[in-house]
């Protein structure tokens, strides 16, 4: 990912856009943070939010007309949050937070004519930046019309204290008899501000042309104004104009452009999306007394805040929630990971954990696709030879094994010399439900006798792993094989295969077996009890298949339990994108979260979903259990597991070949090594991703004169073999019924000169 791509990804995620209230504040006060602090009862933190953005917060918070409330998303759900009322309570109940920091002194002077709110804002903002300021005011004390306010609104002592704080920032107050033209002409300042929210003499007003509305600059260089008549809000609009003028004056004094890369006022405009569906209306809290909210009332009122966030994707995705951020921050993580020259690439596992299920893209108002971002990143890692070798190793090995001579097969139907269609069950259905795969094939032969069979893997693991070169090579090989069969229509029972073929081998004209079955009738019956139908994530954009499955189920009379995240919004089982390989613990969590969404037993039409979801202990049926009741497996049946899948694929191939009077040819020499594996050891092997086939190969090598270790005390034996990139160790005893396996472990590190 380069800088430009990072910017493009970042721009798609709107989570960092301001909430409507903040966008509606001319001072850019983070009203959401303020209200949330109030809701927690942390008034000091709330005040700190106000002081961060407000000039003279003790005055501003008391008089602010709260234009933000107009934009509040709560407005139609019980009424906007009473931000103005909360500000007043907060400022009353807390004290100022120490000294206001001032930047190093600067040489050029500023004269401020008038001492209304806009003028005081200019003085405050510029004094903090180190400019020496003189404020010219009428009357005994500065403040203009603020001096005429009732004590209940603005106590004069509060105003005095705030002006004293201004004084500590090197603001000098000068009482003058008139704010007139003579005053401005006599003053030696480098810049002048005229605050029209005070009593300006007519001769000076005559000199003022209408200012530039964005910069508040007058025609005469160095002259600025604000606090104009006709403002929407008497107080806060004046403060806003003062602030904009102060920005301009600061730029003017530094000889910088007044306009370049200036952030315009948002007037409530924001791209932040906030979902309000499901948010119950709550009425505004009405202050019990005359003087506004009590502390308790304020906390309750603040508690109505929706805490506007987008997080549409994060709310539904265990993976996105797990890593504590949101797509925009994740884009930076991916970028940093790729930019690292030396040191740890901390985001490797993060990048490899995305299931690429596409739910985020469907939920996102801007179609941010974590799948695309992570796939690009994985491809880059592979190309730069930075992909951790273990990240996708197991799935790639499984893919290669499903494609090897022991498992792969392509044949016309027995007795046929050509195929109009070819059944591609998918390597996982073949591995997990071999008998049902055969039964399904038989049904397809009834519908279309010239249906061939193709046992293979669609290469999705290579695609997900970012191994583009390998993926393309496999696809082109598959296209050749398929052409050799006379280019039959490909019928698949796996949504992933279907997606892969449609996207990468469109010539296949691939269709779902469920669509085919729904068109030709079924004889089966329902379980009677409602089942939660979990669509595989690879069917997200395949409404045709999803509808076909539902119509099949309707014809069986199978009632369905509600499962909110279904159809286009469906969730991954934890296998997609090879999440289960790179981050097995997270994949377990994803599956747990999925099955927790319904009390009902689950039903799916993806073999891998059946495998992954049933690992949680949840009863899960495959649709074939309903369609062919004579082959049904109980919903409670545990998953097949990694070892059985390998054996099942070989057996399925044997059975299909037997129909042609053929056999598989020479078996692997280790294939019939007999193992005795307890349930406990089987679970250990599964968790450590060690196949019984691996164990067989190690033991076969040992039996052929390999070196072993024998325990001098109890006779246990240890054997080891390097199989590809991994060294496998097996601890066992020799028994009557075969090898009794006690333990197995593996590592990738090599021993110079060999292992055992």
């Amino acid at each position: 990912m380069d800088q430009k791509e990072l910017r493009e990804w970042e721009a798609k995620c709107i989570q960092e856009e301001p909430p409507a209230c903040r966008a509606g504040c001319p001072l850019n006060v983070d009203a959401r943070a303020f209200v949330l602090s109030m809701a927690r009862g942390d008034l000091d933190a709330a005040r700190a939010v106000l002081e961060k953005s407000m000039p003279l917060a003790a005055v501003t918070a008391r008089l602010c007309e709260a234009p933000c409330e107009v934009y509040c998303i709560r407005k139609d759900l019980g009424g906007a949050i009473a931000v103005g009322g909360l500000e007043r309570l907060c400022i009353r109940e807390t004290s100022p937070k120490g000294k206001i920091p001032r930047l190093p002194a600067r040489p050029r002077k500023v004269a401020v004519i008038g001492s209304g709110p806009s003028s005081l804002t200019v003085a405050f903002d510029l004094a903090r930046k180190g400019h020496p300021i003189s404020v010219y005011h009428l009357g005994e004390k500065p403040g203009g019309w603020l001096r005429g306010l009732d004590e209940s609104i603005l106590p004069q002592s509060v105003l005095d204290a705030e002006l004293q704080r201004l004084g500590s920032l090197h603001v000098t107050f000068v009482a003058v008899p008139a704010l007139d033209a003579a005053l401005i002409e006599a003053h030696p300042a480098d810049a002048v501000y005229v605050g029209q929210d005070d009593t300006i003499a007519p001769d000076l007003l005559d000199l003022l042309t209408p200012p530039d509305p964005e910069t508040m600059a007058l025609e005469r260089p160095g002259w600025f104004t604000g606090g104009l008549a006709g403002r929407e809000f008497r107080f806060i609009s004046a403060v806003s104009q003062g602030r904009e003028a102060a920005v301009s004056i600061d730029r003017f004094l530094q000889n910088a452009s007044l306009t370049s890369s200036r952030v315009p006022l948002r007037d409530g405009r924001t791209d932040l999306f906030t979902q309000t569906f499901g948010i119950e209306p709550v009425e505004r809290v009405v202050p019990s007394g005359q003087g506004g909210f009590t502390r308790d009332e304020a906390v309750r009122e603040a508690g109505r805040c929706i805490d506007c966030q987008c997080l549409e994707c994060v709310k539904h995705c265990v993976y996105l929630a797990e890593h504590g951020g949101y797509p925009k921050s994740y884009a930076r993580r991916v970028f940093n990971n790729s930019a690292i020259v030396q040191g740890m690439r901390q985001a490797n596992t993060f990048i490899n954990s995305c299931s690429m299920c596409g739910q985020c893209e469907t939920l996102c108002p801007n179609d941010f696709s974590m799948a695309d971002m992570c796939l690009d990143a994985r491809r880059e890692m592979v190309n730069l030879n930075r992909m951790p070798p273990s990240a996708h190793w197991f799935a790639l090995e499984e893919m290669r094994s499903a494609k090897d001579a022991q498992a792969a097969l392509i044949r016309h139907a027995p007795g046929a010399s050509a195929s109009d269609a070819i059944f591609f069950p998918g390597c996982q259905l073949a591995g997990i439900r071999p008998e049902q795969t055969l039964r399904l094939y038989d049904r397809l032969l009834e519908i279309e006798p010239r249906t061939g069979i193709w046992l293979d893997c669609c290469a999705a693991p290579a695609h997900w792993a970012g191994r583009q070169e390998e993926f393309v090579a496999i696809l082109s090989e598959m296209e050749k094989i398929w052409s050799g069969m006379g280019r039959p229509m490909v019928v698949t029972a796996c949504s992933t295969c279907l997606k892969m073929f449609r996207e990468h081998l469109p010539a296949f004209g691939a269709v779902s077996v469920w669509t085919l079955l729904s068109e030709s009738g079924v004889q089966a019956s329902s379980t009677g009890r409602p089942l939660a139908l979990s669509d595989p994530c690879t069917s997200r954009h395949d409404a045709q298949t999803r509808d076909a499955v539902r119509s099949l189920l309707a014809r069986l009379g199978q009632p369905l339990a509600e499962l909110p995240m279904s159809g286009e919004l469906t969730e991954c089982c934890g296998f997609g994108g090879l999440m289960d390989n790179a981050n097995p613990a997270l994949a377990r969590k994803v599956a747990q979260a999925r099955v927790a969404q319904s009390e009902a037993d689950f039903l799916t039409y993806c073999a891998m979903c059946r495998e992954q979801l049933s690992r949680t202990g949840k009863p899960v049926l495959h649709i074939l259990d309903l369609l062919f009741p004579e082959t049904a497996r109980p919903a409670q049946e545990p998953p097949a597991g990694i070892s059985a899948r390998r054996v099942n694929r070989r057996r399925l191939k044997d059975e299909l070949l037997a129909r042609h009077g053929l056999d598989r040819g020479p078996k692997e020499p280790w294939e019939d090594v007999r193992l005795v594996v307890s349930g406990e050891v089987a679970a250990m092997l599964e968790e450590r991703r060690i196949l019984e086939d691996d164990v067989r190969r190690v033991l076969f090598a040992a039996s052929k004169g390999g070196r072993v270790l024998r325990h001098a005390g109890d006779g246990r034996i240890i054997a080891a073999s390097r199989l590809g990139e991994v060294t496998f160790w097996v601890e066992y005893r020799e028994g009557e019924d075969g090898y009794e396996i006690l333990k197995a472990w593996s590592h990738r590190m090599r021993i110079t000169g060999g292992d055992l």
């Binding site: 490797n348 070798p389 070196r707 240890i718 021993i751």
Partner: protein, 69 residues
């Protein structure tokens, strides 16, 4: 990666050598990095024993670190 990794139970005999394992110097490599460590080896043929706890513990850790480097 350092240094000496010897399991509690060293009561293992190499077959067919018939020799009891003893601590010995071994070189381990992964992704172009080499480590010199002391592991149980057969004094006669030099066969090395990587015991379960070592494989799943320290070796796995170092493999992961090197893969992310």
């Amino acid at each position: 990666m350092s240094l000496v990794f010897i399991p509690e139970d060293m009561d293992w005999v190499c077959e067919p050598c018939g020799e009891r394992l003893q601590p010995g110097k071994v070189e381990l490599t992964y992704l172009g990095n080499a480590f010199h460590v002391e592991l149980p080896v057969c004094p006669k043929c030099g066969a090395v024993y990587i015991y379960e706890e070592l494989a799943l513990g320290r070796i796995h850790e170092v493999e992961q670190l090197l893969e992310d480097k």
